[in-house]
């Protein structure tokens, strides 16, 4: 009969002691691992599964546009046919989950600064995005006096040159030349509106029109930049370097 005890006795003593040490060490490592590594560590990967659950259970703050649509049908149908159709309600009204659950008020922004967050003229903004210079665009008024934020199309339809020359006129409206009428530089035949191709407006052919305000001898206010006409880039016309419609003034 071979019992485990007899086998154990057969092993030389120095090996037995070494064996006990090794097994003891092994058990200590296992015990410490059990103590220090969370039970759910490594179930899905090298992390605690409960961390994933905690992250999932964090409270929401923003409700999402679909939630708003459940109650505010009227506003939604209005905004859907306007230039603001891409906007989420919470873009302007702030986080609204608490409001949707029946408690807490929603923000109704009325200040000019709120609209200017997106619509103030900044050189880095994409070309064609509607922007205004807050100092030139009806300064004392609130935006909401003329534009309904749920349908912001301007209440006054474009008139005169703006009707066809929209891009240039909106660019000019934020340039230093905003206050000048188009006809200051362009002489427009009265029939241009009816027959635009054959009755063309004029473009300046010489620099007299610029010099009226920008020459050193002109009697215009000081904030208008002035140059010495004869020595300033001789041989070039003003608009070869300065684009008069541009907000940067060339």
């Amino acid at each position: 009969m071979v019992t485990p005890l007899k086998i154990w006795k057969k092993i030389p003593e120095q090996y037995r002691r070494l064996g006990i040490l090794i097994i003891g060490g092994f058990l200590t490592v296992i015990f410490l691992r059990e103590q220090f590594i969370p039970s759910d560590f490594g179930e899905l990967g090298h992390y605690r599964t409960s961390a994933l659950v905690n992250e999932k259970n964090k409270p929401l703050v923003y409700a999402g546009r679909e939630k708003c649509e459940e109650c505010h049908e009227e506003e939604v149908s209005k905004i859907e046919n306007s230039y603001h159709k891409l906007l989420s309600c919470e873009t302007c009204h702030g986080p609204g989950l608490k409001h949707a659950e029946g408690e807490g008020e929603i923000i109704i922004p009325r200040k000019r600064e709120e609209c200017l967050k997106c619509h103030e003229y900044i050189v880095s903004r994409p070309t064609g995005f509607p922007q205004v210079d807050p100092y030139l665009h009806n300064p004392p008024k609130q935006c909401t006096e003329c534009h309904n934020p749920h349908d912001p199309t301007p209440p006054h339809p474009p008139t005169d040159c703006q009707v066809c020359h929209r891009t240039i006129s909106s660019m000019k409206s934020i340039s230093p030349h905003a206050s000048l009428e188009c006809t200051v530089c362009h002489k427009t035949p009265s029939h241009h509106k009816f027959d635009p191709r054959s009755q063309r407006p004029t473009k300046p052919t010489n620099t007299d029109v610029c010099e009226r305000c920008h020459s050193e001898t002109a009697k215009t206010p000081d904030y208008i930049p002035k140059i010495e006409v004869d020595s300033h880039s001789e041989g070039y016309l003003c608009w070869e370097c300065h684009y008069p419609h541009s907000p940067e003034g060339g």
Partner: protein
Amino acid sequence: MNRRNFIRDTFGLAVLFLSGKEVLALPRMSKENDRSPRYGMGIYIKRCVGCGKCVEACKLENNVPKYPFFYRTWVERYTIYKDGEVEVETLDRSTKSPYSVEKREKQILRSFFVPKLCNQCDNPPCVQVCPVGATFKSPEGVILVDPDYCIGCRYCIQACPYGARYLHPEKRVADKCTFCYHRITKGLKPACVEVCPTHARVFGDLTKRSSPLVRFMRMNEIHVLKPGMNTEPKVFYANLDGEVR
């Protein structure tokens, strides 16, 4: 036991042990290959108007400290001057009108906004360096931080090539964009995507052809940030300028 047998047995045991480990590891692998979504984000540079609504929404949704310098997502403004100098500023709405029509001394060649956030790399350097396994890739491919397990050693903050992580000043642990994990797992959009007024941010599942993100990637010239770092980002930029770092 002679020497030959001893070597043979030891070797055999080692092979058995290692192969056993492999066999045990296999079911875990297949679990990860489950058909779970892989989330990503697309950004139209040309649509960003730099309004900062995304930054604001992110801070409210995720309890990010209100002070500047702590961002999960932020908007950078690039200005390239005629003399070739490139200026990069980070938008901060807490200071008044950072972008007002300022008169610059030098002439601007071009300028644009670049929204930035964690790139949710498929090969994330931050996860590799974490000494305790507190930052990890979720089954959906989102890189998350376990705030109860993080020891705040800042190693991951150093390792991120995009500067997307910060040390939370109150919790003293690393914090970063989670793609609003608590929202996307409920079928909602991340807060920044929800509030973007021009839809400059597109969110979706990379594995579904019908997702807006896949459409975005089909229709645009796509670039990622720092492709040379081999991090395989899942935030894709359309019309990215060569100057953007």
